[in-house]
Amino acid sequence: MHGEQDLSRLVQPARVHRSLYTDPAIFQLERERIFSVAWLYLGHESQIKNIGDYFCTRMAGKPVIVVRDAGGAVKVVHNQCAHRGSMVVASDKGSTDEFQCCYHGWTYHLDGRLKAVPLQHGYPQDFDPKSSRTAMLAVPRVTSYRGFIFASLAADGPSLQESLGYMTTSIDDMVDRAPDGDIEVAGGVFRHSYNGNWKLYLENLCDAAHPWFTHRSSIDAAQQQADDVFTDGFGEIAIRQMRQNGAPYSFWESQVGIWTYPNGHSYLGDYHDDAKLVAAMNDPVFRDYIAALEARKGKEAAKKILEVRRWNSNIYPNLSFMSQFQQLRVVHPVAVDRTEVHTYSFRLRGAPERMFRNTISFANVVNGTGSLVLTDDLEIYNRIGLGLSSEGAEWIEIGRGYLSDVADEHGGRRGKNSTSEVYIRNMFDAWLGYMTGTPRESARFPHGAVA
């Protein structure tokens, strides 16, 4: 087992030890010290609109039920019968007025309290149906921010708001884009998986230096694709996205930025803009959408909303989302070398119906299990898993841009340009904090600058 001393030696300012990606004991510690402590994103309130609606997910590998209880509050309960330990709810999602175990019929209220037990007379005298011993245990802390449900398995700790800090503005960006001020999960789920560590996924999402290489095959294929062949319009966004992955380094270095904030959060920004890349702005559907947004919010407010140009926003340790095409990904570590990612799409209430079609099209190309783009990312994660199993380099470099990070006016730091690995260093600062109790502030600004 690794002591605190050992763990802090594994993370250096510009490199980390490979065992962080390969050692099952460290993975187990991450489950205990990160995933059993941090605020984890579980889902969105639109997935449980009515009393009794629920969905199942996992926290630190443990099955939980996220449910809207009889009082209308969001509760998270462990999916385990208090009697013999059976998993009570077996469907991924549904609606119910109680939870009933299929083994001996123990029946629970939506918030996990025991409701009824067959043959209760047979249990010992001190059997107390009101005790926590006879309840499906509730996860201690559950909080939503603008419909985004987070929970923590730890009874104490910083509030969600404190933990998110400035990153609440990324969630605002996601929600404010809806003309009616509300978004809802829609359009199904992708579940993709790979043989590699969970951290690799988050480390790739703001990596502006990889598309040129990793996605070469789809960049070339899309750039060579004739535009005058049959299309039902659905492939348009996909082709544009693939082509723009081939933007030259000079673009990434000068036009895109990377911002990071305490607790491991970050976003890649200034990416998606009509004057620069992809952009739906010329799309007639997007013009209708802008008109709808302006009609509801006013021209000035709509302009301000659309001026936020963030690409992926990452909330450490399990969430990434992007507002422009309403995508969200949840990272589920399965084992030290196995990860599952579940991705969701959102519908903007009050936006033209055709806009959601663009959202689905974009989801297919960016998050689809059969995507021409994502499959090469998955291959990279697999190869890192394979490469790290060698007896080669002991340390992994995360030093691109090191010593050139600059302070940000909102208490974070940003890379000098978008290809800085500052967001990876930032995640490891948070990692150290969770794993050892001591975040390494000194590593954040080696010049001594203070955020």
Binding site: G188, Y194, N364, T369, T375
Partner: protein
Amino acid sequence: MSAHPQPAVRPQSAAPAWDRQVCEDFLLHEARLLDDGKFDDWLALFTPDAQYWVPSEPDQQSPYDTVSLIYDDRRLLETRVRRLASPRIYSQEPRSRTSRIVTNVTVEETAPDFAVVRSKFMLIEFRRNEQRLFGGTCLHRLIADGDALRIRFKRIDLVNCDAPLDGLVVPF
């Protein structure tokens, strides 16, 4: 099986006898091209306005309001096939080897100018050190193009379409 976006009406060609055996032979030919990695020849089996669809949900009704493991119009399908030929397609380095079994072929619907053919398939894919097994139901909407058959629409329903899946690169 569910509806899909209605194809444009095509000019009627000489009505072939929609013989089950002829259709089955065509599906076996298609499977062989895929197993042999002859993706350009496979693409040539599709009409210029073809659609290729692998839903993400059982009984998925539409590719437009729900995500799909793959949904390609002709333009994307061409791009997909061109990428498969790229020396820089890292997710196919090394290449997959595949073996397909196509069976239970039935002609579900016929008209003078098209037929809907249903089949069951199993696909074994081996790549690197892993062998994967896929299975499911295919729907082909075939049209007659002179003496040849062409695929106007292909839908592949994997039995595990909603499971966590590693990347899908070789077409079904």
